[in-house]
Symmetry: C2
Subunit: 155 residues, 2 copies
DNA sequence: GTTTATGCAAATATTTTGCAACGTT
DNA sequence: AACGTTGCAAAATATTTGCATAAAC
């Protein structure tokens, strides 16, 4: 089970297994594709464990990022967000398309970067361990809503 | 000249041409590839114009982002940064490789996303107007420094 | 029993806003 | 003259830290 693996990883590093840490991970894992902020994690976690503190959320997500269990992502909207890490098989090569009109974040899978990564190693000696692609544009609904007359704005 | 074009764009939108706005753009343009934070822009701008206020920097970068003259980028290190926009020919398809060891940000050019963008339009109707690729990994120097014995950490 | 983590409150850091004075049109 | 912009200070947000208590090992 996923949780057992996490406990192991904590112990390996001399970190303690606490209810708070398990709960934070469970909360993030329980909301796949949602890119939660610290505040959102806090609100959700409080439902299960009302005495938890916000500082614990911040400290815990730092640990989880450190352990490569979750990833930090930001969509430049002023919030730092967290999602299950790319080390987890099911979210490897998981990227984001952000609508500049409505702010909706669409997740998509894609695995088209291998050649790029190889070129980077060949030219600069940089070893890629993870990648994230952020695409900005307009989603279907916003295109429909804005209509044909404003399309020249689109670049 | 670049500056004249900017003044036009401001006037087109009914915004005023001020020394502060010109200076902020000039400051960002004068530091290509540096991804300045608001605070850094403030410090640099003060050298030219000591009475400028930090709030003006924040308000101006918002305007510049709005006008697509600069882009907001974040490397998940807690700072929001700005760089000349992708609308500018010379930085189109300009991406970032971030070393997780030393934090160095390498910029590179790449134009390998066309097929991905086409697929996104075909499957989800999403029109891409800009893209950013963030690669995380280890730069040449850090690989050398860490040596062979720690390589298993790399994933 | 020792060490690490938690919760709270206070401290920092970052960004936004209200408003009178000022600059641009 | 009208209106948008600036600078300052205050407010609002977001995140980190110190410390005594509590939990994990």
């Amino acid at each position: 089970m996923e949780q057992e693996r996490f406990k192991e990883v904590l112990r390996e590093r001399g970190l303690k297994v606490t209810n708070q840490r398990l709960l934070v991970l469970e909360t993030i894992a329980g909301h796949p594709g949602e890119h939660l902020t610290a505040e959102e994690i806090y609100e959700l976690a409080k439902e299960q464990y009302p005495e938890i503190g916000l500082a614990t959320i911040y400290r815990t997500v730092q640990v989880l990022v450190e352990l490569n269990v979750i990833d930090k992502v930001s969509f430049d909207d002023g919030f730092v967000r967290y999602e299950l890490g790319s080390a987890k098989a099911d979210s490897h090569h998981h990227h984001h398309a952000i609508c500049q009109e409505c702010g909706r974040v669409l997740a998509f899978e894609g695995d088209l970067l291998e050649t790029l990564e190889q070129a980077l190693y060949d030219t600069m000696g940089f070893v890629v361990t993870d990648h994230e692609v952020k695409l900005t544009g307009y989603c279907k609904d916003c295109i429909k809503r804005k209509g044909q007359e404003n399309m020249e704005e689109f670049n």
